[in-house]
Amino acid sequence: MAQPADLIGRAAAATPKRIAVKVKGMSDTAMAWLFIGPTMLLLLAINIFPLIWTIQLSFTNYRANRPNAEVENVGLRNYERILTDPDVWMTMQTTAQFVLWTIILQTVIGFALAYLIDRKFRGHAFWTTVILIPMMLSPAVVGNFWRFLYQPQIGLFNYIISFFTGVEPNSFEMLGSVNLAPWAIVIVDTWMWTPYVMLICLAGLRSIPDYIYEAAEVDRASPWRQFWSITLPMALPFIMLAVLFRGIENFKMFDMVVLLTGGGPGSVTEVASITLKRAAFEAWRTGYSSAFAIILFVAVFGLANIYVKALNKVKER
């Protein structure tokens, strides 16, 4: 018997007869649904259904720790409370500042490192690996590790600052000071995730064809001019992608902050995810925290959408 030439025909021929009989006669659309069906079901079960349920819960006073209590529909009351609560706005402000500063630092340092590594100096592969190490560590390990480094009596960080500035090592507390604690977290996040930004930027830099630089050299363009006119514009979509990834990740930052400061001192490092966790799993205000989660989701989703549109425009240029 001659072998069918097309892929589907060959797949059908290789299929056991009993199954093939059942599949025979199915349309392409039906086949497509058959293949994507399980994934769709899984997606519905673990993503879409919880989302719809969360939306529904956000309009109630439901508490997961009160199984016997009557659940009332409270309309938009949860949303109103959240949006008029100054503590929530403070939390959002803290989150925004945290996201802003980590992104600025990680992008600038990450791009600079990528630019250096792209020069392909002697041992650049070794240094690339070394730079990537922090990114490979678990946030729990990093949090505990830096907690020790920041310890004012025995921590290395304070001694290094003391060595360069002359101030007493135990005269300042990175995690206990209202002014320094937010920066302590920004430093740790930057240390850990700059390599990630560097990797993406490096991919961007390596994707720029050499002949463009060669043409620029022929036109006697200075290195500075080459950087502004070739390197940066061509790497920009990659940089923007890194910013998007880090922005989304840092918006939901939780583990590192909990390990380093627990949201303190006072509430100066209490980011939105910590407030949400406390409302949902400590105070058990399930309805309220569902509304909060939806607000955060809409904020991240909306901002990410606007950003992706901007990213597409940059790519089209």
């Binding site: 720790n65 016997n68 004012p152 135990n170 627990g262 949201g263 400590e282 105070a283």
Partner: protein
């Protein structure tokens, strides 16, 4: 085809039999096992030792789920809320009683106590009130008092009894250096030790609780607030907090706590609870440490500092008072081994078992232990423990306690550690937060 059918039938019967046998074995195993959930700390190890006797007597194998303190409430309350079957017996915090009773997580033990002749009058009244009853103070029992505890103090006896240091203290303050009786004295002593060089090491005044995430700073600050006269309500059960929570005495108590935090704690002591305090004390950093009585047996036996450690009850100010710790043991309503769990409670309530519990390092609150003539001298901290248990005050035990606790943690940390606002503002803010909670609960 018939042969295949027969084989399939045999295989089916075999499979069903195996499943039935496995289910029966599993049920039998459950009937012979009990899982006890508690926090992971020194007394839990003592309980494992004590329970070996129960295992030998009953033939039931005890399993344990001990959760580190910072995650204890999260882990266990999640388990209860999810209707899990992890715990048959639970030694849970006193604050959980209200919620667990109202949500049906614990078994009400009144009938069982009556049937087995277990009398609550045989236990210290304060312990019964705090660890067993809901609504608080009523004869509705949801737990058996298991582990008495209160916040107390550890101090470096060798430093306090050093003639040179004593003379210097006398010269500086005009008072004798001795365990403080009031918070004013405590601050004075802490200030004296702060930054002092002892044995070539810089030492600090006191380790106090400042932890933000769970309950630390509330447990610490209330140890100052209660002796100054802080109350939760003007009229018990009326939730009229104005004038009680923010009274002039309460404000003075909170100011004192902040003053001690500012003047006399080791550097970096901004988010510290039991573990950090123990580390600071054992490493010789602090002259005094606030911590739970539960850690005193372990500290007294510590090879390095056990012999030079003294203990004292929480200092008074306007009144004598201590912050309550400790827990009762409850039967989880979801258990598959109700009979075994109740048998454990019956065994644990036995006066002889309670005496062994104390001897092993558990804080028994049975009168057979506490009223024993030799009790006060049985351990270096026994006298202080008795005194503390007679003056304990507890946090809200309301079903919404977690929300109430979160608000207090935030307000106190904001004022004491972050230095925002005044003590009066912190306590006024706390009333506002608690009012919202009680309004949501329909109690105001």
């Amino acid at each position: 085809m018939r042969l295949l059918g027969k084989t399939a039938r045999k295989a089916g019967i075999g499979l069903v039999s195996a499943m039935a046998l496995s289910t029966a074995l599993s049920t039998a195993a459950q009937a012979n096992e009990l899982t006890l959930c508690w926090a992971a700390w020194d007394p839990a190890n003592a309980l494992v030792e004590l329970s070996k006797e129960f295992e030998a007597q009953s033939g039931i194998t005890m399993k344990y789920e001990f959760v580190p303190w910072p995650n204890f409430a999260d882990r266990i309350l999640n388990e209860l809320n999810a209707g899990g079957k992890l715990c048959d017996l639970l030694i849970g915090d006193s604050q959980w009683l209200g919620g667990s009773a109202e949500n049906g997580y614990y078994v009400k033990l009144n009938d069982f106590f009556d049937k087995e002749g277990i009398k609550m009058e045989d236990f210290a009244a304060a312990a019964v009130n705090a660890y067993a009853t809901w609504p608080k103070g009523t004869p509705n029992y949801w737990a058996l008092p298991a582990m008495g505890d209160a916040n107390g103090w550890f101090y470096r006896k060798d430093w306090f009894e050093n003639p040179e240091i004593m003379a210097e203290y006398k010269a500086k303050t005009g008072a004798d250096l001795a365990p403080p009786k009031t918070w004013t004295e405590l601050k004075q002593i802490a200030e004296f030790f702060q930054g002092r060089q002892i044995n070539g090491q810089t030492v600090y005044g006191a380790a106090i609780f400042t932890e933000r995430a769970s309950e630390g700073i509330t447990m610490g600050a209330t140890s100052a607030l209660y002796p100054y006269g802080f109350k939760y309500e003007m009229t018990p059960g009326k939730y009229d907090m104005e004038g009680a929570v923010n009274s002039a005495e309460a404000v003075a108590g909170l100011e004192m706590y902040k003053a001690i935090y500012d003047c006399c704690t080791p550097p970096g002591y901004t988010d510290s609870y039991m573990g950090e305090g123990l580390d600071a004390f054992k490493s010789g950093q602090v002259a005094m440490m606030m911590n739970w009585f539960a850690f005193m047996p372990g500290m007294a036996k510590d090879e390095k500092v056990g012999s030079v450690t003294g203990f004292f009850v929480n200092p008074a100010q306007n009144i004598p008072a201590s912050t309550l710790g400790g827990q009762g043991i409850s039967v989880v309503a979801n258990t598959d081994n109700m009979e075994g769990a109740l048998n454990y409670i019956k065994w644990f309530a036995n006066p002889d078992v309670q005496k062994k519990w104390w001897a092993l390092g558990g804080y028994a609150v049975h009168n057979a232990v506490l009223t024993d003539p030799g009790f006060k001298d049985s351990q270096p901290f026994a006298g202080a423990f008795l005194e503390a248990m007679n003056q304990v005050q507890d946090f809200w035990q309301e079903p919404a306690y977690a929300q109430l606790l979160q608000a207090m943690q935030k307000r106190l940390h904001d004022y004491v550690v972050a230095g925002n606002g005044t003590a009066k503002e912190a306590l006024d803010g706390l009333i506002a937060d608690w009012t919202v909670v009680f309004e949501e609960e329909g109690k105001l």
